[in-house]
């Protein structure tokens, strides 16, 4: 797991705010040490939380999809029993601040009844259909068991809700022991591992699609699905695991964050294209995403499957905005989308009469804009030019050349570069040349390192916004407790102020979280 320091602090902050400090201690222990057994957790967590308490906390965190249990296959011939390990799901913790975004997606796509069912799952983590119905019965705005059942079916069909993963999958042994956190320099960690422990655990826990998103489901009749399962051996094992989790043999459901992130990713791509190209291109891209969607295997898909103009056009005219578009116009938009300039890379790749969406390219444009905006604000216009020049060059360039290219005062150039380097926004190398008195300094933008640095700072900023919000609310606590109609004059003004502050702080963190997704989840 490549979590940044402030990513961890922010995640712990979220858990503390929602579940209290004891739960967050267990969480922090797992975030910092990697996967652990419950005994290890009780040993490691600073203020000796006893073993039973640790277990309760783990169940709570599992219920809220923040922790996944697993065990490692014991060595062949080994007597020892596999010990259950717990792995914290960092992403799912951060998703907790996005629940209103997820909820909005469902409300827009499937209506408010589905929205209500999803909200039930978001607040409770995992529920069975029976529990959802029960919950509805106790609520003020009952929508009825039939509607609940129907909404749940729609949510599963749209993949916004999934059957819970296997509670305790067994993963095969690999060189790296779980529980042993990788050490190494930052740079070494950046080099992507082919498969992280997290990916292996999630893969092992996730049932095959037919079981994960069953087409037909009734209370207690999930066994009818076994026939749908193409992947027999693997699937059956997983299905068994899934079912054994539920004593009443009722399927347990939870929100499928993966689908929400995919949805938001697509939406962000359309927005990026709309802003950089135009409305027409955005309509065409949206249609392309729709065509290729079912073939996307993972959220961070780099490129879509190839698609023909015909299939794209067919999809375009299905939408209200695209109904009036002629095929000619769609083709012109595709041309525009596949054009490259110094300003914009190609968003779509043309290949043998078919077209491929280049997700990486679309997202990297938005990432680049985010980075440059920070450089401009923090270090000024000259630095902005230097940074853009170096990103364009993509290799080490000496100070003097940078000053020439960016037309900046040569005396000031080294200082500006050094400032960015100190904050981790540039890479520097000293080059000693024989015969030359002072060593040459070479500079480079390493996008991966800048992204990491920025991501860490963005988590930090989110944490700061949240802390400041709490601080603002606390400082005016008495005021907010007074009955509204009693407030007049100066008091009323103070209340309005605190409201405005609250609004600004929360809307800013909402947008900042979009940027975090851009760098971390998309």
């Amino acid at each position: 797991m490549d979590t940044s320091e402030f990513g961890i602090v922010y995640a712990v902050h979220i858990i503390t705010a929602q579940f209290g400090s004891v739960v967050s201690k267990v969480c922090e222990c797992l975030l910092r040490k990697g996967s652990l057994s419950s005994r290890d957790i009780s040993r490691f967590s600073e203020s000796e939380i006893n073993h039973n308490k640790v277990k309760d906390i783990l169940y709570l965190l599992i219920q809220h999809n923040c922790v996944q249990a697993f065990s490692v296959e014991p060595r062949a011939g080994s007597e020892s029993k596999a010990i259950v390990q717990y792995f914290v799901l960092f992403n799912n913790i951060i998703h907790r601040v996005r629940y209103n975004k997820f909820s909005r997606v469902v409300n827009e796509e499937l209506g408010s009844q589905c929205g209500a069912v999803l909200d039930g799952l978001l607040t409770n983590g995992r529920l069975t259909l029976g529990q959802l119905i029960e919950r509805d019965r106790d609520s003020e705005n009952t929508i009825g068991s039939e509607v609940i059942r129907d909404s749940l079916r729609k949510l599963v069909a749209a993949r916004f809700v999934e059957r819970i993963p296997s509670p305790e999958p067994v993963i095969g042994k690999k060189e790296q022991e779980p529980g042993q956190k990788k050490k190494g320099t930052r740079a070494a960690q950046i080099i992507k591992e082919p498969e992280t422990l997290e990916e292996r655990i999630i893969e092992a826990a996730t049932p095959v699609d037919a079981i994960r998103f069953p087409l037909i489901f009734e209370q207690g009749s999930s066994s009818s699905l076994a026939d749908n399962d193409g992947n027999i051996s693997e699937g059956k094992r997983k299905q068994h695991d899934v079912e054994s989790s539920d004593s009443r043999n009722e399927v347990i459901w939870r929100p499928n964050f993966e689908e929400f992130i995919r949805h938001l990713r697509h939406k962000a791509c359309v927005e990026i294209v709309k802003e950089r190209r135009d409305e027409g291109c955005a309509i065409v891209l949206r249609a392309m995403l729709e065509v290729g969607r079912s073939q996307e295997k993972k959220v961070k898909t780099a490129k879509s499957v190839p698609m023909s103009v015909g299939s794209i056009y067919e999809e375009v005219i299905k939408t209200e905005a695209g109904r009036t578009m002629l095929q000619e116009r769609v083709e012109a938009c595709l041309d525009q989308l596949s054009a490259t300039s110094s300003y914009l890379p190609a968003f779509v790749i043309e290949m043998d009469d078919s077209y491929i969406v280049d997700f990486t390219s679309i997202i990297s444009v938005a990432q680049k804009d985010e980075m440059e905006a920070v450089v401009l604000r923090r270090y000024g216009k000259e630095a902005f030019r230097m940074f853009r020049y170096l990103s364009q060059e993509g290799h080490f360039v000496e100070t003097d050349k940078i000053a020439d290219a960016a037309l900046t005062e040569k005396k000031d150039t080294p200082q500006i570069l050094l400032k960015m380097w100190k904050d981790g926004y540039l890479h520097m190398q000293k080059l000693a040349v024989t015969g030359v008195y002072v060593p040459f300094l070479l500079w480079k933008v390493n996008k991966l390192i800048v992204s990491r640095q920025m991501l860490d700072e963005m988590y930090h900023a989110c944490l700061n916004l949240s802390l400041r919000l709490t601080h603002e609310i606390d400082s005016e606590k008495e005021l907010t407790l007074l009955p509204l109609n009693k407030l007049e004059g100066a008091l009323k003004e103070r209340l309005n102020k605190i409201k405005a502050k609250r609004l600004l702080l929360s809307s800013t963190s909402f947008k900042l979280d979009d940027a975090i997704m851009l760098f971390h989840d998309f």
Binding site: R377, R385, A406, L407, Y437, M454, M458, L504
Partner: protein, 230 residues
């Protein structure tokens, strides 16, 4: 000590002229870049004291001149009088007495933007721009015009596009290098207001020192105070 002195004076009797010639040859061979005393020591193996003396003598006879290095004010370069200092030493066309003429650059950039703006939806070719500047009092070379345009591209105010002969390029030849505004000139060429850059912490120089319970913290920081001051 006395031994060394003797050795020096010995060489100076018959060698001063010789040393000067050696140095002058070296300096001449370096043309517009000239030679530093460090290079002279390294390449001629003449002892430092004699180098200093020879330089003084060459200077007195108007055979060499001293030029500061724009990149490193402390380092002096010695050039033969017949050579003009090269770009590496003076900083190039945009420098006046060792200072970058920012005002002139910004003026020229402003003119480019105005030309591109008046072209409305159409692109402007490099040729049009460079011909324009050839005729003005500045008499810019093609290379200089290119530098100004590149700078505007780095400012993200304009973009460089290659003509495909269609649409907005209809009055240009295919393959011609053209320019147009990125559409952000009104904002002084600022990049899109990024989500992170719009938060005080995104622009904060102290973010690395800021922590929840630290001396610099979000509950006490001035940047937030100002930002939230309605």
């Amino acid at each position: 000590m006395s031994k060394r002195k003797r050795a020096e004076s010995k060489s100076s009797i018959g060698g001063l002229k010789e040393d000067e010639n050696k140095l002058l040859d070296l300096i001449r061979s370096k043309e517009g870049m000239g030679a530093t005393t460090f290079e002279m020591k390294l390449e001629t193996k003449i002892v430092p004291a004699l180098i200093t003396r020879s330089i003084a003598s060459l200077k007195k006879n108007h055979l060499i001149k001293e030029v500061p290095n724009i990149n490193n004010k402390g380092i002096k370069h010695f050039l033969a009088v017949e050579f003009a200092p090269c770009k590496e030493l003076t900083g190039g066309d945009w420098y006046n007495d060792g200072t970058l003429n920012i005002e002139k650059i910004e003026d020229l950039k402003g003119i480019c933007v105005a030309i591109l703006d008046s072209a409305k939806d159409r692109v402007v070719t490099f040729e049009i721009l460079s011909t324009y500047f050839e005729k003005t009092k500045d008499k810019l070379t093609r290379e200089q015009v290119k530098q100004i345009l590149k700078n505007l591209v780095l400012d993200n105010v304009i973009m460089e596009v290659t003509s495909n002969g269609l649409g907005e390029f209809s009055s240009t030849r295919i393959g011609q290098v053209c320019y147009k505004l990125t559409g952000r000139k009104s904002d002084n060429g600022k990049a899109r207001a990024g989500a992170f850059a719009s938060v005080p912490c995104g622009a904060c120089p102290h973010i690395a020192l800021c922590s929840p319970d630290g001396v610099i913290s979000p509950t006490t920081c001035d940047y937030f105070q100002k930002w939230l001051d309605f």
